[in-house]
């Protein structure tokens, strides 16, 4: 009986042990459709996948930013035929931190992209390379990631900082991927860190890397020039701009039209490529499904162009007849994929305007006017050079030119904010604005609110004044 009992126990234990150990194996399952994080940085292929994912993260953030700045400023008007309610809270300046998500969607999306970027920079050291060619690719990816990091932070700063003076509240500069509750750095700190990232990127990016859908050396220089302008480092802005103006000439009129049909790359220093199947940026402004204009180029904007002679008017504005004008810039060049268009981030035209402004600020009116006239000459048939008597006249002309040249390229809001100018709408553009005709820097809505979700989740995040 005793031996029997022992046998029974032995058998039971043995069976249980076998069952349990085979269970352990049985339960050893792994996801199939995704790759564990540790495996990503074990190969160059993984690294390449990660940098592609990073660009994919930046792209919607920039799209958000273009929409956000168009809604807030005098670039866009809300036509009566837009009965979708889309964007109206922001267009009417009724947003707060929790409503009117279009005002700060870019905050979320840029930081999401930054996490993708920082994971690369955090782990790139451990990625093995086989030969010099692979090492060069690895360095190039590191350079792109650094440049993207600087770019994302600069865009966040432009949208969400309390201002562009060094001591103004800026944004959090994320230097690594981490789950934390950081606070905001000052504008000076953000710009210093961004410049450091860009300098390092220049040492890593090879001159042979010239793909304008990626962050190349030229794009780094363009961003450095922009930063110099915001820092009022006029000499820096001039020297950086000059490098690019030599390297990437302005487009001819024919080339210019091709840019917006995505049929040419003249003067495009960096663009975010959109392919069939990706989000169509033009859908934001024109609803294909109902042939409905959601946000139209404002009358104020349309009226600034010499409509007969300025190549920009036709490239940017499409007259649908019956008083309906829609944005042509993002309708793309593929009739079978209406509204699918690349997002042009840096163009030589802006570099000319940066240099013109820097010259003007240095009271070099002739050099400033020369740049402005060069741009206008390239755009307007039969243009006769204009002479500017005062610095203010030149600066104002440059501002107007930026409005015209860079309309719906997210520049308008930043230019006004940079110079603390109000947003004003003419009555024809304010029919559905419920009285939103002047947004002065004194109003809280002049600054974009940090999203309420961020404030709720992160006790250290300071909100912009008034929200």
């Amino acid at each position: 009986m005793n031996s029997n009992k022992f046998f029974k126990y032995f058998l039971c234990t043995l069976l249980s042990a076998i069952a349990l150990s085979s269970c352990q194996k049985y339960l050893d399952k792994e996801p199939i459709d995704s790759v564990p994080e540790v495996a990503i940085f074990e190969s160059l292929i993984g690294l390449q996948n990660a940098i592609t994912g990073a660009y994919a993260g930046v792209s919607p953030a920039v799209e958000d930013e273009i929409y956000q700045t168009a809604l807030v400023t005098d670039e866009a008007t809300l036509p009566t035929e837009n009965n979708t309610g889309r964007g109206v809270i922001v267009y009417r300046w009724q947003y707060d931190a929790g409503t009117g998500g279009e005002a700060n969607a870019s905050f979320r999306d840029f930081y999401f992209a930054l996490n993708r970027i920082n994971k690369i920079l955090d782990n790139i050291g451990s990625v093995p390379v086989k030969d010099a060619a692979e090492d060069a690719t690895k360095k190039q990816i590191q350079g792109e990631a650094l440049a993207l990091r600087a770019y994302c932070h600069f865009e966040l700063l432009r949208s969400f900082s309390a201002g562009f003076n060094g001591t103004d509240l800026g944004v959090t500069y994320m230097e690594r991927s981490e789950i934390a509750s950081p606070s905001r750095a000052t504008t000076a700190v953000v710009l210093t860190k961004a410049k450091a990232d860009l300098s390092l990127a220049l040492t890593l990016l090879p001159t042979s890397f010239t793909l304008n859908t990626r962050f190349t050396r030229n794009a780094v220089i363009a961003l450095q020039a922009q930063i110099a302008l915001y820092e009022k480092d006029w000499d820096g802005a001039i020297s950086l701009s000059s490098q690019l103006i030599t390297a990437v000439p302005l487009a001819t009129q024919a080339q210019f039209q091709a840019i917006w049909k995505d049929a040419g790359n003249a003067e495009v220093i960096w663009k975010l490529k959109r392919n069939v199947g990706d989000n169509r940026i033009g859908d934001t402004y024109f609803d294909r499904t109902q042939n409905k204009i959601i946000y139209a180029p404002s009358k104020e904007l349309r009226d600034t162009y010499d409509q007969a002679n300025d190549v920009r008017y036709g490239a940017y504005v499409l007259d649908l007849g019956g008083g309906r004008y829609t944005l042509n810039k993002y309708r793309g060049g593929d009739a079978a994929n209406l509204n699918l268009a690349d997002i042009k981030v840096f163009r030589t035209a802006e570099i000319y305007l940066i240099r013109a402004e820097a010259y003007a600020e240095k009271n070099n009116l002739s050099a400033g006017a020369a740049d402005l006239n060069a741009l206008r000459r390239a755009r307007i048939t039969g243009y006769a050079d204009e002479v500017f008597a005062t610095k203010d006249a030149l600066v104002n002309a440059i501002m107007t030119e930026r409005f015209k040249e860079l309309a719906f390229e997210k520049s308008r809001y930043f230019d006004l904010k940079r110079r603390l100018l109000p947003v004003t709408r003419i009555p024809e553009d304010a029919i559905n604005a419920l009285g939103a005709i002047e947004l002065t820097p004194a109003k809280r809505e002049y600054l974009m609110p940090i999203p309420l979700a961020e404030i709720n989740a992160n006790g250290n995040m300071q909100q912009n004044t008034g929200f």
Partner: protein, 1039 residues
Amino acid sequence: MKRLLLLVAFMLPVALLFAQRTVTGKVTDEKGAPLSGVSVSAKGTRVGTSTNINGDFSLNVPANARTLVFTSIGFQSREASISGSNTTVNIRLEVSATESENIILTGYTRERASKYSGSASKVSSERINNIPNASLDQILQGRAPGLYSVAGSGQPGAAATVLIRGAGSISGVTAPLYIMDGIPIEAGVFQSLNPSDIESVDVLKDASSTALYGSRGANGVIVITSKRGKAGKTVFSIKSQYGYANRTTPKFEMMNTQERLQFEKEVGQEFGVTIGPGWYLSKDNPANAGLSTAQQTEMDRRLDSLNHNNTDWVDLFFRTGKFQEHELSASGGNDKVRFYTSFNYYNQEGIAYRSDLERYTFRGNLDFSSSRFTASISTGIGFTKRNFIESENTTAITNPFSSAYYALPYEQPYVDGVLVASGMASGPRLAAATYNPLLPSNTGAPTVPILPSRVLVYDQREGSDALERLASTTSANNQLKGTISGNFRLKLTNELSAQGTIGLDFRETVGDRLIKPGTHTGTLVTGLRGSFSENFARNIQIAANGGLVYAKTIGQDHSFEVMGLFEVLRDWGHNFTYVGFGIDPLRQGTPSGITAGSTAGFIPTVAGGRAVPNRAYAAFIGAGKYSFKDKYTLNLSYRYDGATQVPEERRWKGFYAAGATWNVMKEKFMTNVNFLNSLLLRASHGQTAAQFVNDFAYLANYAGGAGARYDGIQGLAPTFGNTALQWEYTTTTNIGTDLSFWQRRVRMKVDVYNKKTINVVINQNLSFTSGFAAGQINAGTMVNKGIESEFSVDIVRSKDVLVAVGANFGYNKNRITSLGSVNEFIQGTGIIRVGLPLGSHYIVKWAGVDPLTGNPQYYNRDGSITTTYDRANQSVAEFGTSIPPFTGGFNASLRFKGFYVEAFFSFASGFKRFNNEDFFNENITFATSNQSRRVFTDRWKKPGDVTDIQRYNSSRQFSSKDVQDASFIRFRNLNVGYVVPASVLSRLKVISGATLYIQGQNIATFTKWRQFDPEDGNNIAAFEYPANRMITFGIKLDF
């Protein structure tokens, strides 16, 4: 083991040496009709047989046998003494209507209610079988206390949201576990299951009843049991049901044409804005002052013509849906083998155009029993085809239910029989395309001549566009589902049995969508020539368990039962989607019509995966039961569960429950208590857990998808992972009683419970700087406390007349008691806050319209009133929850001879939902669409007006004004029928049973809720597909 066999081998011939005798007899029912297939066994021995077709049996019993036991499903078991020289036993078995209610099926075991400490409710076949609703989960609404089931959609075959005893998780799974014939089946996938095949549904609610399911048991378990064959004459049944469905009576109050045109004129006069022809064409519009008399006459004429349009959009988007169902079933067998088989055809049209469901189901159930071995094979196979409306549950105008609200009453969709939609580039719309009178630059006098031969459109074409979309697209799916299981039990010795279950739940859903080429919608997709997409998803669950059951009775007083099982479960999925473009108009609706990969840009897109779901479980299960004198019973259960859903270090965990029952009536002191017929007290306590939504939520991964694709290259992007993730543990304590009195005419069941869930998974909001909006953590504690009761009373119970009423209700109080390091999370218009129930609304409190200015006013948190709206700083959580605490149902039945009437109501109360429809329909931003009549009649116009509708040109914001009471009582079912008496049928010879009935679903709904339907599974109303009201006529014949 060997010795045991030896012992048996020795004893057999010894037993043969004992004197034997033969007992014979006949088993009949109450009326004396012979009963076949009744199992007859000698108590305390292994001898047994069953009755033949005439109810006769003959059994050789050992001399020491004293008692015979007669058992048959559907009848009360009886024992008869065979002591002495008694060799003939004739016995009558009583049918018990409540017999099936006394057995609780837990999926692993069959439990007698009188010895079961768990809290369970049974829904029996007659409440399920003939309901013309394709979704079994919806049919359960109001049928079991503590079970809340609501349909999120009136689309035939839509799944319901089901909660048992409240929501047990914040961001995790709240749906119960479904078990069918012993194996787990997919939750929410019932469209291919025929409710007529269901014998019973047991709803298991407390730990004692769900602990055997361990890590999947916390949200309750719904055990579905299909019909089994009965021994005896083979019965064929034919069932047919025909009917039609219409919408219920919605509180739908939008402006009609006259009101709308007047409204347009008024706001034009008051605010100088043009939102439509009522102002644009008006004589009073200053912009028209300079027009010639001829032009003015023309405008008057047009206005007058519009005035005569009154399109009934509700009529255009809804229809009368036809319904039919036919079923052929057969059931029969003998004492060894029994079968039940059925074939059912079900066809239901939705009350919205295009939506329908067509279903074929087959069931074959087979039971085999011998004295040592029993086996049950259950096979259910269903094939369903469904068509859907467009953009269901969205606020888009392509959703017909939103267009019914948005579309202007003077919009005429058809001109000379041709649909005029806004996007059409040719046809009658041509003139309007070049001339849209609604544009700001055209608010003045017409500058473009109006061509009288062309159609001019003065509206937004919202209804017409929805009609265009409806006609130019299709959206369908078909589903093949099979649930196959086998249960086996082998008696090894008198006490020891081996048992096992193995099964497969298989489902394949193929969705397809066509956007027709040559239509306006067809020009909106890549390539401008329509598209065709197919979406293929397969889900397979395999379950197997096996083990031993040991049962022994010692003396008269002590009975034990111990069960030990080992179980493995595997659940995996597979899905694939493609979209192809450039559709050949002659071959629409098939992939062969796609132009693939051409230079014209017709590149198909593909997506899919191999791992949703992808999970496995392994478990050791133990259960024990001890009964003393049938008076006190102790139930213990334990499951040592291993699962892939949690990280390896926490993969194995034990779950347990202990419960006890006290059958008070068996006590001596109760012998003189005559008013009570039964009294059982139950108590249980235990711990279970719930599954996670995602299989590898704990792993930080890099995943692909459109969000990681750039410049034509597929990249990867990081996902959030939390390696500290672990189960949400739910500890439930339950105390209950079952009692009956007045000759069992009053039957009651009351349960009180306290269910505490710790480690509640929360989508914790993260700083965006972390790269994620939220991440899953275990941070909360939530308590669901409640009381449930069900009772039924047979008021009159005689041979010819039965009058009975019944009711059940559950009151569940849900509270979040901790959220770890924080006190609250804001989630859209809701808040998760300590001290509040889940589903709490969180929004700015509405303070009415300022009578002086007409401005909307809001409360600041300090109670002061302001016209400034600031969601971040004004929102409060004072508006209750979207999850009803109080739910249930009540019913009444009346039977007179063959006639019967059965009525059933369900209700849900004490909850509020966000009425997003009001937000759209009372909002200047959407004023070019139609608006609520209230906007016309009640809007603030001048100082002194006291109203709830703010000044026209003031900004409409989300506020507590839109948080509205959605409580409802629904007259869910009324069935009036006639059972043809046997005396009539006996003359027909062929037919053995006939029932004729007429029934109605959702006959009336009592609610304060405006819009189409209060019933929905979420917190916000956004133009959902409403429930229907259906009338059907049915007939059932048995042969």
